[in-house]
């Protein structure tokens, strides 16, 4: 390819005729080498395919080219610029479109199809009319148009894939990078998809496209192919050249022949022995009128089939036609709305362990444990299926060999490419030699050699071990190996016959033709109905007349770095999207708003600073008149609640140990007599010191009660000089009646507004990391500032709204008036909400999992906010690290302002210092959040 012919049409001048050039490119993940020093120049304006087995570095190469992954060694020039330069990457983002591997990884599942597309359209700065035109055009060409209102999460796997494509095509990129774009997409939609790409290329001849694919029939139509293996490039050339070189008639076999000898040694052409006829009456799976409705939508509509023991039954159909739903009903995961299904003649019951043991199931989305290695996963599944301990090892070894997983047995699935993950899932599904295998697109994204290896196993299981196999696939050569196929569309079974029978009945040449014909007929019927409904809508042609606008740019001139990092439109897009998501998840918003109110009620009423009703008992060893008088003083106090008297010391000990008594007054023998003789007897008072604050309070009460008694006693003594105890007037300022509510309420507001907003904001980012859509930060022109602020703003608004509710509740429910300046309170709360959500953003930047971020945020907010910021004790009373944290933590200052305004009637002039301090912390917090967040995968 380096010496490719100079004829390259319409190359942009800056690229020097090449879209992508790299040399000595190396990339490794830990010890695993993904790219082993490869060099190549890829001319612009071509449709270039990457082919090769799973895990040879195709995706790694693509993620480097798009700038999603950080570079390690070698040089890489994309569209004329060095990918090591952050400035070039930033400038490049709008010119590249990237669709990552995996089902809908770049999508937001709670948002509808329309909203997802709108999001990407807005990110690239298209105006509303332009977005409408593009969205309609793309969805109509991919068949998603009728589903614009459906949440992306409710789409079938293949439809998610289509939506992912549309999202990456929404702007006009110069380089389109697609990583296995048609995995799990049905043949009809695949055909439509490639037609769409062709038409885009016709309109824009400079467009370069790089595609990794596992479908060799697709590779056939590419301009150039790059065959890769083990991080190296095996060969390059047009499909024809490759065919000639290898002397094969199709790319599938050409691909296999290109592989090194060792890899294709086990490969041989597959033949399916016929199913023995005696199986005819031995039914394994039976479904009768199986129906499933979700609300008004019928996903599966009266589907019936009988599958014989040992039969390979293929389920084919367009994306979203109800294949997965049917499988979920068969496994008992989903109850059927109507109809019955049985396995081995036993009606399906989700709880039957016997049936579950005989069942192997592979889900469409990877559903093994990412925290375990490949081997650990297999061992776990073997054991859970009840394989005896001494056989586990053999089973695992068998699977590692059979699915060629040995090289990655110590890797965790998260670090594996899609194809190898699929193989692992398959291995886990068959490890216990089940009698029924339900496989939901098991070979999607798997390379041809591995696919054949897998089918070899399927055939062996079916024919030798009489395992019944229920399988869905989009590969026609696989469908041909099935004993019977059921063709599905829109929840109904269109036809059910042997592959040959289907081809014959439709008078088609190949199964694919028969299948597409069937689908087109059915789609035509339903779209005719849809057309009737939608006639009032503006027809496509009208929409196309809207002139494509040039991307809007702010009219005033900002420095370049500023324009690149602070685009209002992109910030707004992020904000708008996050708001939508909050709106969709009503429970979250409601809990966030009203949760704070509930907590305030609980804390306001539940926590009292007063200590009352303390269980107290008297141990009176004197029993004189004086001692009775003395004990009466205690019993009468409102602080104490007198319990049964204690009789002796042992009892005192025991009753205090079991926590029954907080306080015991021990009056010694001869107490009365000693007083009369001026012997000054000593009373022992025992306090439960387990809770020091309570003990200190009790201590104070005792002193007061005792002093009271002394003063009373002295008054009664005529021979002493008259003495009146000084009267200590205690004035509790700001809360004269020592009510708990006026003390608690202003203090609780800052604490609640720290924890909840921080956790919500933190989760909103880490969620994207865990679910995959963080890739949009890596692969689109979004800057970290826009992304973080866009996500933070909805939570600031939510938190601020919640703080207004808290103030209203304080004033109207708790009767705690705002005595000072309300504008000051509101302003400071607004600043505070920015800070607390900003803390969440910082927490999110250093964590990858949602669990960790919840934990981190809790740890980083609860302890400081409740203990170190002056809620109970002033910061100045603390020592060491606690004091330093307290001095910088914003809750300290918010508490000062909140108490100042609520209790002390203060205004701006008094509280300027804390206000300014909080304001100064905002840029610092935001800056830390941005610096810690990564713009590329590392």
């Amino acid at each position: 390819m380096r010496r490719s012919e100079p004829e390259t049409s319409g190359i942009s001048p800056d690229s020097g005729g090449f879209a992508v050039r790299f040399s000595g490119l190396r990339l490794s993940y830990g010890k695993t080498l993904a790219l082993n020093g490869i060099s190549l120049d890829i001319p612009a304006g071509r449709l270039v395919g990457l082919i090769g087995p799973d895990g040879v570095g195709k995706s790694s190469l693509l993620s480097l080219v798009t700038g999603v992954h950080a570079m390690q060694e070698g040089s890489l020039t994309v569209l004329g610029g060095d990918m090591r330069s952050a400035a070039h990457r930033a400038a490049l983002c709008p010119r590249i479109a990237y669709m990552p591997q995996g089902l809908g990884k770049n999508l937001y599942f709670t948002l509808t199809v329309e909203e997802n597309l709108q999001f990407f359209g807005r990110l690239f700065g298209h105006g509303p009319a332009e977005r409408r035109r593009r969205i309609d055009h793309l969805t109509k060409s991919t068949g998603l148009y009728p589903f614009l209102d459906r949440p992306a999460g409710k789409l079938s796997g293949g439809m998610k894939q289509k939506l992912g494509l549309c999202c990456s095509l929404i702007h006009d990129p110069d380089l389109l990078v697609l990583d296995e774009p048609t995995t799990g997409v049905d043949p009809l939609a695949r055909r439509q998809f490639w037609d769409l790409i062709d038409s885009i290329r016709k309109d824009q001849p400079t467009l370069s496209v790089m595609v990794a694919t596992a479908y060799m029939d697709e590779a056939q139509r590419f301009d150039w192919l790059i065959a890769m293996d083990e991080g190296k490039i095996l060969d390059t050339g047009s499909p024809k050249e490759l065919l000639d070189k290898t002397g094969s008639d199709n790319l599938d076999s050409a691909f296999i022949r290109l592989l090194p000898e060792s890899k294709r040694a086990h490969h041989r052409e597959l033949t399916v022995p016929p199913l023995p006829p005696e199986a005819d009456n031995d039914i394994s799976i039976e479904a009768e009128g199986l129906t499933r409705k979700f609300g008004s939508f019928t996903a599966v509509d009266h589907v019936s089939f009988r599958i014989r023991r040992g039969e390979i039954f293929g389920f084919l159909g367009s994306n979203g036609c109800g294949k997965t739903t049917t499988m979920r009903m068969l496994t008992g995961l989903l109850p059927a709305t109507e109809g019955t299904a049985s396995l081995f003649g036993v009606p399906i019951d989700g709880n039957s362990m016997e049936v579950r043991k005989k069942l192997g199931y592979m889900t469409q989305l990877f559903s093994l444990y990412n925290e375990l290695t490949v081997r650990q996963n297999l061992e776990l599944y073997a054991k859970l299926y009840g394989i005896p301990e001494h056989e586990v090892h053999d089973h695992v070894e068998e699977m590692l060999t059979r699915f060629d997983l040995r090289s990655s047995e110590k890797t965790v699935p998260a670090d594996l490419p899609l194809g190898i993950k699929q193989r692992l899932s398959l291995a886990a599904a068959v490890i216990h030699h089940p009698q029924i295998l339900i496989l939901d697109e098991p070979t999607s994204g798997v390379d041809p050699v591995a696919r054949d290896g897998f089918w070899e196993l399927i055939i062996e299981l079916s024919r030798r071990d009489k395992v019944t196999i229920f399988i869905t696939t989009h590969f026609m050569n696989e469908a041909e190996r099935c004993d019977r196929i059921s063709l599905m569309h829109a929840g109904r079974s269109l036809a059910c016959d042997t592959p040959a029978g289907l081809v014959e009945s439709r008078k088609a040449a190949t199964l694919e033709e028969a299948f597409i014909g069937c689908l087109e007929d059915a789609a035509a019927a339903s779209s005719a109905a849809a057309q009737k409904k939608g006639e009032n809508e503006s027809p496509e042609t009208a929409a196309e007349e809207v002139k494509p606008e040039t991307k809007p740019h702010s009219s005033f001139h900002m420095p370049a770095w500023f324009r690149e990092n602070c685009d209002f439109g992109r910030w707004y897009t992020c904000f708008w999207r996050e708001m939508l998501e909050l709106k969709r998840d009503g429970v979250r918003g409601t809990l966030a708003l009203f949760g704070a109110l509930i907590l305030m009620v609980v804390m306001g009423y539940g926590i009292t600073m007063d200590v009352e009703n303390l269980p107290m008992a008297i141990l009176d060893e004197d029993q004189s008149e004086t001692s009775l008088d003395y004990s009466w003083n205690f019993a009468a106090s409102r602080y104490f609640d007198e319990r049964k008297p204690v009789r002796q010391y042992d009892e005192l000990d025991q009753r205090m140990v079991n926590g029954e008594l907080s306080l015991v007054v021990q009056i010694p023998p001869k107490f009365g007599r000693d007083i009369q003789q001026n012997n000054v007897p000593e009373l022992a008072i025992w306090i439960d010191g387990a809770m020091p604050s309570r003990a200190s309070t009790i201590n104070g009460y005792i002193q007061a009660v005792h002093a009271q008694w002394v003063s009373e006693y002295l008054k009664k003594q005529p021979d002493l000089p008259s003495y009146e105890i000084p009267d200590l007037e205690t004035r509790y300022r700001y809360n004269p009646d020592v009510l708990s509510l006026p003390a608690m309420v202003p203090a609780v507001i800052p604490i609640l507004l720290m924890m909840i907003p921080a956790i919500l904001a933190a989760l909103s980012v880490v969620r994207e990391k865990e679910l995959g859509s963080i890739i949009n930060l890596y692969a689109t022109p979004l800057s970290r500032l826009e992304f973080l602020l866009g996500k933070q703003t909805p939570y600031i608004i939510l938190a601020f709204f919640s703080s207004i509710l808290l103030i209203l509740m304080a004033v109207f429910l708790f009767d705690v008036p705002v005595k000072g300046s309300l504008p000051l309170l509101l302003l400071s709360l607004a600043l505070y909400c920015v800070l607390s959500t900003g803390f969440g953003m910082i927490a999110s930047s250093v964590t990858k999992s949602q669990i960790a971020v919840i934990f981190l945020t809790m740890v980083a907010t609860i302890l400081p906010a409740t203990q170190l910021c002056g809620l109970i004790n002033p910061v100045s009373s603390q020592g060491g690290a606690a004091r330093v944290i307290g001095m910088f933590y914003p809750t300290t200052y918010m508490l000062l302002i909140s108490r100042g305004v609520f209790n002390k009637a203060l205004g701006f002039s008094d509280l300027m210092k804390p206000l300014l301090f909080m304001a100064a912390e905002i840029p610092v917090t935001v800056a830390i959040g941005i610096l810690l967040q990564k713009k590329q995968e590392q």
Partner: protein
């Protein structure tokens, strides 16, 4: 056959639990956070002395300028008080507003004369009530100090000599003679962290399994919801149990030097029961939360009142009766009860069997409700 089933059940529970532990060990940040919450956090909780009065700022407006006023001032001593500052009458409001002092004592003119004349003069104490417990507890201290000084002063100045008081009281604080707040603060922080960790580890890992589809996969395998739940409970409880044993023995006993009176093993038994209750609570919350953010908020909504009203921060008997009743349903209340009893009062099984039993019942009820809901929410 029955026996074989049973063994397979136990094996599933064991294997799934081991899987949880491996997952935990693969997450360095989680491990770091666990280590933090059972070491440094407990240390901070202990030394931040949230309960008793320390370093309280006092000012005195001395209008008497007598020897008694001098004596009163000199009797405010660290560590409970900072050395008092003398200010003028007109400064009181400003100082209070700015929160410079928690206490301002105003000694009126002719105080000493009136005191010695036995007239019982009044003395004014201004307390910044927004300072919460420092204000309320500290006011008691100030009162004590002032009265004691006055009494002694009067006794010395009058003919009565020492015998002004007919009887003295000797206060003995049991279980924590010097009322060191670090004892309580450390244990309280340990309790809080055990609770938080147990809920997060089980609940959030359940939600994660649901969001990643692994739970659904388990539902088609010969593994029951019961086994899945028990595996999470035992594995996460074990992790927290080990961490808390470490915190108790190494941080609290050895590093902070807090004397722990009661039986370590009895306390660990209690922690185990408590962990059963709170891990079940974690699963319970996860069964009602649709996604991780919902779980996060629900957890806060449950965790905070549980901690604040457990009797660990403020005594239960001072709360309104309905609150006390409701808090009987919270496992933390019983945990606080028995841990204070065992660790400080050295109580034995005959004392703590009641909270133990209550914990078990609470755990069992939460477990059973979660089990009923588990399947319904797993496959969504």
């Amino acid at each position: 056959m029955k026996g074989a089933d049973m063994i397979q059940k136990l094996r599933n529970i064991y294997e799934l639990g081991v899987k949880e532990l491996i997952g935990l060990f693969r997450d360095p940040l989680m491990l770091a956070l666990i280590v933090y919450s059972f070491t440094f956090a407990i240390y901070v909780g202990a030394v931040s002395s949230s309960d008793s009065v320390t370093n309280a700022a006092v000012a005195v407006v001395d209008q008497d300028r007598s020897s008694i006023s001098q004596r009163i001032m000199e009797s405010f001593l660290p560590p409970q008080f900072r050395l008092p500052v003398q200010i003028e009458q007109y400064q009181i409001d400003g100082c209070m507003d700015r929160g410079e002092y928690t206490f301002i004592l105003v000694i009126p003119p002719d105080f000493q004369r009136d005191l010695l004349a036995g007239k019982g003069p009044s003395i004014q104490l201004n307390v910044d009530a927004t300072r919460m417990s420092q204000a309320f507890v500290g006011a008691g201290y100030v009162q004590q100090i002032v009265l004691k000084e006055c009494n002694t002063f009067f006794a010395a100045g009058s003919s009565a000599g020492e015998g002004i008081s007919p009887a003295n009281i000797v206060i003995r604080n049991r279980f924590n003679p010097n009322l060191e707040s670090s004892w309580f603060g450390g244990i309280n922080e340990l309790i809080n962290n055990i609770t938080m960790l147990a809920i997060i580890l089980t609940g959030a890992s359940l939600i994660r399994e649901r969001e990643r589809g692994t739970l659904e996969h388990l539902m088609v395998m010969p593994v029951t919801s019961f086994e899945t739940m028990v595996s999470k409970i035992w594995s996460m409880s074990l992790a927290v149990l080990i961490a808390s044993a470490f915190a108790l023995l190494v941080i609290i006993k050895w590093y902070l030097g807090i004397p722990v009176t009661g039986s370590f093993w009895l306390f660990m038994l209690g922690v185990t029961l408590y962990l059963f209750a709170v891990t079940s609570l974690g699963i319970f919350i996860a069964c009602f939360a649709g996604n991780m953010p919902q779980f996060g908020i629900l957890m806060i909504l449950i965790l905070i009142p549980m901690q604040m009203l457990s009797g660990g921060s403020t005594p239960q008997e001072s709360m309104p009766v309905p609150v006390q009743r409701i808090m009987q349903l919270s496992p933390t209340t019983h945990f606080v009860t028995f841990s204070q009893a065992i660790l400080f009062r050295g109580a034995g099984m005959h004392v703590v069997w009641v909270p133990f039993l209550k914990l078990f019942v609470i755990g069992a009820v939460l477990f059973i409700i979660s089990l009923k809901r588990f399947r319904k929410t797993a496959a969504s």
